[in-house]
Symmetry: C2
Subunit: 372 residues, 2 copies
Amino acid sequence: MNFASGLPDPRTIPKNEIKEIIAEAFEIYGYQVLQYSPSSGLSKLVKEVIKFVYRTRGLRANLNNVIIVSGSQQGLELVSRIFIDPGDIVVVEEPTYLLALNVFKLRKARIVSVPVDDEGMDVNVLEDIVKDLKKDGKKPKIVYTMPVAQNPTGVTMSINRRKHLLELAEKYNFIIVEDDAYGLLSFDYEQPPIASLMGLNNVVYISSLSKVLAPGLRVGYVIANENIINKMYVLKQFMDLGTSVLGQAIAQIALEKGVVDKNAEYAKRLYRLKKNLMIELIDGMFFSESWRSNPKGGFYIWVKLNKNIDTRKLFEQSKRNGVIFTPGANLCVNTYRCLDAMRLSYSNPSEDEIRIGIYRLSSLIREMANVS
Amino acid sequence: MNFASGLPDPRTIPKNEIKEIIAEAFEIYGYQVLQYSPSSGLSKLVKEVIKFVYRTRGLRANLNNVIIVSGSQQGLELVSRIFIDPGDIVVVEEPTYLLALNVFKLRKARIVSVPVDDEGMDVNVLEDIVKDLKKDGKKPKIVYTMPVAQNPTGVTMSINRRKHLLELAEKYNFIIVEDDAYGLLSFDYEQPPIASLMGLNNVVYISSLSKVLAPGLRVGYVIANENIINKMYVLKQFMDLGTSVLGQAIAQIALEKGVVDKNAEYAKRLYRLKKNLMIELIDGMFFSESWRSNPKGGFYIWVKLNKNIDTRKLFEQSKRNGVIFTPGANLCVNTYRCLDAMRLSYSNPSEDEIRIGIYRLSSLIREMANVS
């Protein structure tokens, strides 16, 4: 039972449609689908991405605002290479996405965290931090946020906080790095990305097709102002010359034919069902002191046990029982605050695995807490 | 007429075989071909790469010595991230591969060049440089070389120089970064890579399937000792989570079925013909003072006009006449030494384009040199 991975449910990967799309890609592109292409991405794909983010996210972009990348992760890497020098201040949510944290650490950033509550990043806390920094003549270089279906809490930032965040970015002159990986997997109603509210001036928007089409294609995109995108073109060329052309051609046709839109709808419904199942089981089985987030979308639930249980030790035990998850400490800057927390992913395991796994996990937790 | 690009000849991209291989990949891997995979690469592909480099290049490696990368370029990026800190000394051949030079510069390396002659990098010059550095308590961190069919000269390093280079690496404790991108496109007889001569101790070997199968798949590999590969696993995960799984599955099956081996043989014969054609035209049409390299493989001829002609100016003129190439200054550390030089690529243009393009180019050169 793997509650640790961020792998999509196999049912959300439209294998047969993609097989057909590949045949079409060979028809349309011929051998070019296997040749080098520009580092910035296939222009036909860029055009489809522009239409896609407008129709699904209300985000306006033109040809000079987009670069195709090898998944969101490469977008984060490009951001960190362009904006972060050693010692620069990077603000992240706490808890946050592990591999973003690692990328920022690798650039020797000074990482500052802002807690997440039911309305997302606590922007008032951020404001205090930014004001304090200003007194020392400092400011954050970037603020990294996943405003919709945040990883690992699943919470979505309220519209007021998004606006507040944008005001702070403008006033204190920092860049908001908006990771919208789960933006199309919002369970209740669509939430506009920050980048769509007041233009691209202070926002770098990153997303991908990994959660709504197929992660193995490694196709994502960054949308930002032209200056930033131009810098990314150059760096991207040095890093890998360009993203898999076959993957790009598949993405282009899947977007054009509406396969991605349709598939995202299906995925969203499936993940909502699985989220509801896991939540029901947690609420029924975990002891009453424990707390869980209320995911508005995405792949994950954040659980705080509120008992003196180190989830890294729990992990060792549960692993022997065939259940893995992500210990909270891995996802926090202030690890001590997250020692009793854990991220549970419902995206990849089957419904039966969710039932069995949560049962085993709750038994182990009760054992460790000496609660019967 | 594009003599500037490093694109393979479309005839060397086995489109129909790859179409069939994709169908097989869906049979064998199912939806997994579209799912996330380990950052280190598909283990079945790693095994095929090990067999492939042994049977074609005599290079021995085990499972811990290999990482799959998104093309050679990503291999260079990983090398530079792992070995180079600002101010570190990196030795390159002169002339060399532009995007390697740029990657090293981006890491703020101090770049030192060693000239290339008909036997490849002049290792005696390198020895002098290394001895001088040692007097100041310094040494190169890495020495970057393309020993077979060097880009842009096409020359192959003699076996004595390769051994000499290895001795220096051992004695002065530096890493040889061996870029074998054109290693399977050696026109006369196979030349063993440096990494196959005395084990992997001081060598990082980089190659890819871009020139012998299809560049659009973005599949390459780095072979080195386990310590280095382990560092690359971690970095690669931060950079893009992993290489396109579909591309990896195609590569695995193409290697297993011998499609790559067969295709490389075909490509080698085709490029030899095109090289001979271009050489014949250059020798017949360029004026007698000019000098050209004698490529032993690969995609390129290096021409030195030995006249007071700046090839960057020539480029502007020839571009207007529909002929582009790479001015030599772009490929040199000491640009002044290469002002009258140019790289001419015969890989992508058709035979007719080569005939017309070289004719136009020679006319322009004669005009600029006032030679009739």
